[in-house]
């Protein structure tokens, strides 16, 4: 195997991580907003569902997704009926699986940030003629910006680092689903340790740098439970 294959895997991984992060921010932010403000009885079950990938072996998630998105699964039938075809062993399938896999890493920091803002700044904005959408865009989002940045960075890094889900749902197809972690696995299988070293080192340095950045952003907090900038001061 050549450096060209490795480079292809790196590029594919970055593309996957960018697409997944962008989609997750777009879908995860409203979900986080809802979770932060709802009093619905569905809050607890939905929160648990969102957090599942934190504790579930990725292979379990990958297995169920494979079943759902396969030719006999509900999602698989739907995608076929819509003319999209089957998602497993495609880049699109990898995106869907990665989104579920990285969901808690995006939703939880944003939700925590929204919760820390509290009701008061939004009430103040309402008394200053700002409608619901303006309150969200011009008050809630800016005050939660560190939570959003943390979410984006963690979602990106976590997607870069996934392995089990990729293997279950995407296989190992060069240029379509072969990412850094699966390429690394291939090198080890082929006893190509120098190449394995190179990829492993890239992931290690990348992950450390990302986490360093996150902690620099907010020195006194835990990884996921990010306080918002707008948290009321004592």
């Amino acid at each position: 195997m050549s450096w060209g294959d490795d480079a292809q895997a790196v590029l594919l991984t970055l593309k996957l991580a960018f697409v997944v992060t962008a989609l997750l921010l777009a879908l995860g932010t409203p979900l986080a907003w809802w979770l932060a403000h709802t009093h619905s009885r569905w809050k607890a079950p939905l929160s648990a569902l969102v957090a599942l990938p934190l504790v579930l072996p990725p292979t379990v998630l990958g297995f169920y997704l494979l079943m759902l998105m396969g030719p006999h699964g509900i999602v698989g039938r739907a995608t076929q009926a819509l003319g999209i075809g089957l998602l497993p062993f495609s880049f699109a399938g990898l995106v869907v699986a990665s989104m579920l896999y990285s969901l808690p890493f995006v939703v939880q920091p944003i939700q925590t940030a929204f919760e820390a803002i509290g009701a008061r700044p939004l009430e103040a904005a309402a008394t200053l003629r700002a409608g619901p959408w303006e309150r969200f865009v011009h008050v809630a989002l800016p005050l939660a910006r560190r939570g959003v940045i943390t979410a984006a960075v963690l979602g990106f890094a976590h997607t870069v680092g996934e392995f089990g889900v990729v293997l279950m749902i995407g296989g190992n197809i060069p240029g379509a689903t072969r990412v850094i972690s699966t390429q690394l696995y291939n090198h080890v299988e082929a006893i190509e340790y120098p190449q394995a070293h190179r990829l492993a080192a890239i992931l290690l340095v990348f992950s450390f740098t990302v986490l360093l950045g996150v902690y620099r952003l907010r020195p006194q907090g835990t990884l996921v439970g990010a306080p918002a900038d707008g948290a009321p001061r004592a």
């Binding site: 008061r120 700044p121 009430e123 103040a124 904005a125 309402a126 008394t127 200053l128 003629r129 700002a130 409608g131 303006e134 011009h138 008050v139 800016p142 005050l143 910006r145 900038d229 707008g230 009321p232």
Partner: protein, 359 residues
Amino acid sequence: MISATLRLPRGAFTLDVALDLPAHGTSALFGPSGCGKTTLLRCLAGLERAPGGRVVVDGEVWQDEAAGVFVPVHRRAVGVVFQEASLFEHLDVRANVQFGWKRLAPAQRRVSIEQVVEWTGIGALMSRPATGLSGGERQRVAIARALAVSPRLLLMDEPLAALDAARKAEILPAIERLGELPGITIVYVSHAIAEVARLADHVVLMEAGRAVAAGPVGELLSRLDLPLPPGEDAGVVLLGEVGALDAPWHLARLDVPGASFWTRDPALPVGHPIRLRVLARDVSLSLAEQPGSSIANQVPAVVEAVADDTHPSQVLVRLRTQGGTSALLARVTRRSAQALALAPGLAVWAMVKSVALLD
């Protein structure tokens, strides 16, 4: 005129009020903590929705559940100043002040940013981040921000409660001046009698979710039948003007309806409106004028009512000045009350040892 009929159950009490507030000046919602003042204010703002409630401001219906009307907060001509300033910490002072102003249609802007900055004295703060202000500065910015939306109704929820005495003294004059602005009604929530005495034209006394009494400040604070703060704080507020000056002696005569008081020259011109607070503990009674006394302020009055004070040795006496236009309170011992045979209708002289000029 602001009319509100609101009923909203709240854990410890049920807010249950039917109010009419005058369209001009400052109305105070006054009462102990937890009596429902803040809840009432939030209902007026639209931050809380009382089922079946009705709120009408100058003929404009903000809430009428019977007709299915509930104008959301951001469409009401309202400004709110919360107890904590609640500034937007991601913005600087200027952006905070402009936040609501720039959301108004130009035709709705009755004040400019420059005007509100001047009223509140925050010119030097405009470029500072909202996080870099002292408590008093933050509250000034919050007031400026609320005024900038040209509110018809300015709601203030204990805006001074979180400040120390020095900061309070600094901001009170600014709030006082707001009451003189045309076309704006202020509803001011407080549990501090000193703030109410200083700011309010109209007072609504609240207790356990209900409005137990309402009226002009001078009348309401002199009533003996209400759960008003007893003891050292009992007293009346009188509105009048500077009547005359005695320059050689550095004295001024302050005229209120039915009475005049000589006091230290406050350096105000004759005719300037004034607000006085006369505490019951500073008023004693005599059956006749006392020419040989150092007390210069002796006001003829008629006893209207006598009621128990907090300590069994004392009573509070409500007096009416000549012409029946102003009320005074006096605190005397029960023994003196008996010795003077104080009873409604008795003509007396109120010996006023001191008056406090509130502005």
